[in-house]
């Protein structure tokens, strides 16, 4: 994969992951990134970082988000892992490469 291709795929995966996290029940919000905090438009979604490891191919996803009131943090991280893994697999050629998801709860709302 060229650097350019990797960047394009990473951007798509980042967007897909952000959508999946926001949709997961129990997620209050993704942690805003720098640009979000100083209110610039057109910013990348904060709280999502996607990185590709080449050999063996593996996509690493790091997520930071707040958990909504009335939800157990651990359960929400599990639901997020499931939905993000599925969302990324849908964007990658079958059979999809390894996808590693790290979730960090930044706040209990």
């Amino acid at each position: 994969m060229t650097t350019e291709q990797t960047r394009d795929v990473a951007a798509r995966l980042t967007e897909a992951a952000a959508v999946a996290v926001r949709r997961t029940p129990g997620v209050a919000y993704l942690r805003p990134g720098f640009a979000g905090m100083v209110r610039r438009s057109g910013a990348r979604p904060g709280g999502v970082q996607v990185r590709r490891r080449p050999d063996p191919e593996c996509w690493e996803v790091e997520l930071h988000f707040a958990v909504a009131a009335g939800h157990r943090a651990l359960e929400v991280t599990r639901a997020v892992r499931t939905s993000v893994t599925a969302a990324l697999a849908a964007e990658l050629p079958a059979p999809p490469p390894a996808i590693s998801v790290t979730t960090t709860v930044t706040e209990l709302a």
């Binding site: 720098f34 100083v38 970082q49 943090a73 651990l74 991280t77 960090t104 709860v105 706040e107 209990l108």
Partner: protein, 231 residues
């Protein structure tokens, strides 16, 4: 009963990181802020392969880009104002933004310790400040109790097994400082705080807390305990 007047660093305050950044400060990967920012200057591409994979450096660079954008905008506005003959106040505004972005960069880059959730291989974490807040809230709910600093760490620091990157795995110890009135015997109150802390850890978070240290740092008098502002 410990009567400490120095509760130790508060994770939320440490993460606040207000004030100018010391360029010698190290990112968690070992690089200094200055090294990373110098590498970016002049728009030179970053040859060092470390930057491609390092999220800490990536975050520092992102902060710098945001700052750059604002400084450019502020300078352009200042120039425009000067040409229009108006007194330029945007210089001060730009400095205020600079300080704010620097504060945000610091907070992003030093979010504090992450603690494990669930099983050892789950790769799910919670930042210490978030869990500590939940424990303090639970203690505060008890009448005659005011929670202070709360820290969470591996039960046995020496035996802590290294995790995948965010922090150490294994069971945890909560250390919470409280002020209390003398309406109840302190050992009983400590036991209740301990029980509530473990209950919150299990029910609300999913965190494996094995020990809770309750440290009484002050005695509340009846006038103190009623709805006063917390600092």
């Amino acid at each position: 009963m410990a009567m400490s007047t120095n509760p130790g660093p508060d994770p939320e305050a440490a993460a606040e990181g207000t004030g100018p950044i010391d360029a010698d400060e190290h990112l968690p990967c070992g690089r200094t802020f200055e090294a990373v920012w110098s590498a970016r200057q002049g728009g030179r591409p970053l040859d060092d392969p470390h930057y491609a994979g390092c999220r800490h450096c990536g975050a520092a660079l992102e902060g710098l880009d945001v700052l750059d954008g604002f400084v450019r905008t502020a300078r352009a506005e200042e120039e425009h104002a000067r040409q229009a003959g108006r007194r330029a106040t945007t210089g001060r505004a730009a400095e205020a933004v600079t300080q704010r972005v620097m504060g945000i960069v610091r907070r992003e880059l030093r979010p504090g310790r992450s603690l494990p959730l669930g099983d050892e291989d789950e790769d799910a974490w919670i930042v210490e400040a978030a869990a500590a807040k939940a424990f303090r809230t639970a203690a505060d709910a008890l009448p005659g109790v005011r929670a202070g600093s709360c820290r969470i760490s591996p039960l046995d620091e020496a035996a802590a097994r290294p995790g995948s990157g965010a922090g150490a795995q294994g069971p945890l110890r909560v250390r919470i400082q409280v002020a209390a009135d003398l309406s109840r015997l302190l050992p009983e109150l400590a036991e209740e705080i301990r029980a509530r802390t473990k209950a919150v850890a299990a029910a609300k978070i999913g965190m494996d807390v094995h020990a809770v240290d309750v440290i009484f740092v002050d005695i509340l008098h009846p006038d103190d305990a009623e709805g006063t502002d917390r600092t």
